[in-house]
């Protein structure tokens, strides 16, 4: 690598890492257990509150949503194209969405088909 590190960096870094885990390991197990229990209880309470609030909100909105979906269905039915000329090009009978392939798509396809990367590199180098 064309980069360097300060003198003695790796030994010093290792010393700091080991000191860090030593501190964690020396923390009394009881103290850690109590704080973990408190943290879990707080998290559980927050999650319960979120679930209750969400359920109430969903129940209230469900009726309105059903009505809205019914209206939307009729509305979008009017907009759906049903003329085949819109979906297919006459000249090729190919699906319009498939007609624009990039170089990257082609390379991906060739690699997935088993062409070795090195062979593709040679081809593109020429």
């Amino acid at each position: 690598m064309p980069f360097s590190v300060p003198d003695g960096y790796f030994d010093e870094m290792q010393r700091q890492v080991m000191a860090g885990i030593g501190t964690a390991a020396r923390t009394p197990a009881r103290e850690r257990t109590v704080s973990h229990i408190l943290l879990r209880l707080t998290t559980a309470a927050a999650m319960l509150a979120a679930v209750v609030t969400g359920t109430l909100s969903i129940t209230r909105d469900r009726h309105l949503q059903k009505e809205q979906m019914l209206n939307d269905t009729f509305f979008y039915t009017e907009l759906m194209p049903n003329d085949m000329d819109i979906l297919y090009e006459e000249s090729s009978y190919g699906y319009v969405a498939d007609s624009d392939l990039s170089d990257e798509d082609i390379i991906d396809y060739l690699i997935y088909s088993g062409i070795p990367v090195e062979q593709l590199n040679e081809f593109y180098d020429e």
Binding site: M1, F3, V5, Y112
Partner: protein, 179 residues
């Protein structure tokens, strides 16, 4: 000491000694792996220490059906990618040019001792999309096999090969502008 010996020592109860051997084995490889993303010694130092702290915390749950080496690399890679993600979000909010900043970091790095080609190579790597940069670094610098990279990243080997190919061509085109 091999990974297998480290894990045997860890399981026998000598956990801190085993971890010390692990840090000693991996500290340099992980340092360079992370530094290729951050382009800064200080950021790399922080991320490397966080990486080892996470490895220590997660070692009890390490399942030995996976390789220790790929598992460790995955944790380091996640740290590096999270760092980049946060940096990108901060840069977007502040309307900063993240690519320009990375190039500046390479130019002003007091620990850079390479030549002009190596400087341009590292700048070109910074221009790659994250996935391509990750694959290129692991393949080109760490010389890992596609299967190993796949285990680290969870990306299929076919997709990795395609990403490496795109990265290779982009870097080649970038270097041709200068040399």
């Amino acid at each position: 000491m091999s990974d297998r010996e480290i894990m045997r020592m860890y399981r026998s109860g000598a956990r801190e000694r085993a971890f010390e051997a692990l840090v000693s084995n991996y500290r340099e490889r992980l340092y360079w792996h992370i530094r290729r993303f951050t382009c800064s010694h200080e950021d790399t130092d922080d991320l490397l220490q966080d990486t080892f702290a996470k490895i220590w915390a997660a070692l009890p749950s390490f399942r030995e059906d996976a390789q220790l080496f790929t598992w460790i690399y995955r944790i380091a890679t996640n740290e590096a990618l999270n760092f980049l993600r946060k940096k990108k979000i901060r840069a977007t909010i502040a309307f900063e040019d993240i690519l320009g900043e990375m190039e500046k970091r390479i130019d002003s790095d007091p620990h850079f001792n390479g030549d002009a080609i190596q400087r341009q190579l590292h700048k070109a790597i910074q221009k790659l999309p994250t996935k391509q940069r990750l694959v290129f670094n692991l393949r080109y610098f760490d010389e890992l096999k596609y299967e190993e990279i796949s285990e680290i990243t969870g990306i299929t080997t076919g997709s990795l090969k395609a990403s490496y190919h795109h990265a290779y061509n982009k870097i080649k085109a970038e270097l041709e502008k200068y040399f």
